[in-house]
Point group: C2
Chain length 225, copies 2
DNA sequence: CTTCCATTTGACACCCGGTGTCATTACCGT
DNA sequence: ACGGTAATGACACCGGGTGTCAAATGGAAG
């Protein structure tokens, strides 16, 4: 996995392209024709490579969308390690997930289109589950460590699953509201999660960052259905 | 959708089989050869119908596994309606989800095999996301109603996503422990969720049904990885 | 019984994603 | 120039899914 650029002094023919290059080509086509209408042949042809070669750069057409996801997970793992041990679990979780999703200002449009594909194209929605498993594993590992339980135990796994769900809801919310701040939405959602969604103490404002974050973009729904 | 058995006095040729019959045939093959190794042709042949006809009974090979899921969702919706209005949201949620998963004693093995397929076969894991969306919609609708917010709002959606995640974690936990009680596991997990996973008041036992439920099957992990 | 209509069926042809195989091509160091 | 190494792409194949259309089936009307 992961093609080293081209170590100097490496024997053999050099790759005729790269994952990133291929990704660019593909995204251009996805933008133009949509994900489903773009065939692997289209991408390969546009990139000037053979169909078979495409599948040496990506395991599947779906995987094109995910870019350097695996590497980013390492970052997230590192983020967890960096949190102080005495910080409440759910607060560390919130902080890391929010930070994990902070992208450079110029990159947010790119991030948006990526998320849009993943969350809106059924084929990618489905496939994403497989990728999310890795994300969850990172969270579960952290939670298990903090709780002193097994990674595979119910609580760590439930936390990981619930965290993922919460993040997905935030993503969707953000996508539906151009101009909104993803980090703020995530912060709100994870604060809610840590509170059990009002389960214990619905009341007014015992909130910490939640209120300010909420203020950032809590307009009413614009959609129907 | 949903083939009426055979309304008396309905013109036209009668179906040569039914979804349930097809499902039985398919499950037998899945058990014997595994999901991936079983082709649609295999199922069709075993059922004595044409390949094309199979796809008139199911939208996809994946859908075979889901049985009467849509109908069950109606039950769940009804379950939500039956809860008293003054009950805390997350408590209603827990109660309904637990009840939703209570199956007749004789059916639990069948339920188990179904869940095993959905949660363990990658192709089905992926596909399941699409089905879960309906489940989430039911939960979100209920949550929105209780909160007086839009169904598409962040909180209802986050709750729905988190609830789904929690349920999945419970399913997996249950699957990994033959003999354990699914409802008890679900109860525990949802109680935890409503508490924000210890986010507010980690302490000992402020729990209600949680402790008894937990006692039912909280052995330590047996798996590695 | 025949005719008409509604409906299901299945054969056939396609498309597309994904994989195994293998000769070919390109590049390295010698 | 040579040999090893790695990427490439043509080819064939599998399997899921779809559009099309003629044929089969059965109820109801004549």
């Amino acid at each position: 996995m992961s093609t080293a650029a081209s170590s100097p002094g490496r024997p053999g023919r050099r790759p005729s392209t790269s994952q990133v290059e291929l990704e660019k080509v593909a995204f251009r086509l996805f933008d133009r024709d949509g994900f489903d209408a773009t065939t692997v042949d289209d991408i390969a042809t546009a990139a000037g490579i053979g169909r078979r070669t495409f599948f040496r750069y990506f395991d599947s057409k779906n995987d094109v969308v995910w870019g350097a996801f695996t590497e980013q997970l390492d970052q997230m793992r590192a983020g967890f390690c960096a949190r102080p041990d005495n910080e409440p679990l759910m607060e560390s979780l919130r902080a890391v997930v929010v930070e994990f999703n902070r992208v450079a200002p110029g990159e947010t449009e790119r991030h948006r289109r990526r998320l849009e594909l993943i969350l809106r194209v059924p084929a990618l929605q489905a496939h994403s589950t497989l990728r999310y498993a890795d994300w969850r594993a990172v969270v579960a590992e952290f939670a298990a460590d903090r709780l002193g339980e097994e990674t595979g135990g119910l609580r760590p796994q439930a936390i990981a699953h619930a965290a993922l769900g919460t993040a997905l809801a935030a993503y969707e919310h953000w996508l539906g509201r151009p101009g909104s701040d993803l980090c703020a939405v995530l912060d709100t959602a994870f604060t809610d999660l840590a509170r059990g969604f009002g389960g214990a103490g619905e009341g007014a404002a015992s909130g910490r960052g939640a209120d300010s974050a909420a203020g950032a973009d809590f307009g009413e729904e614009t959609r129907g259905s």
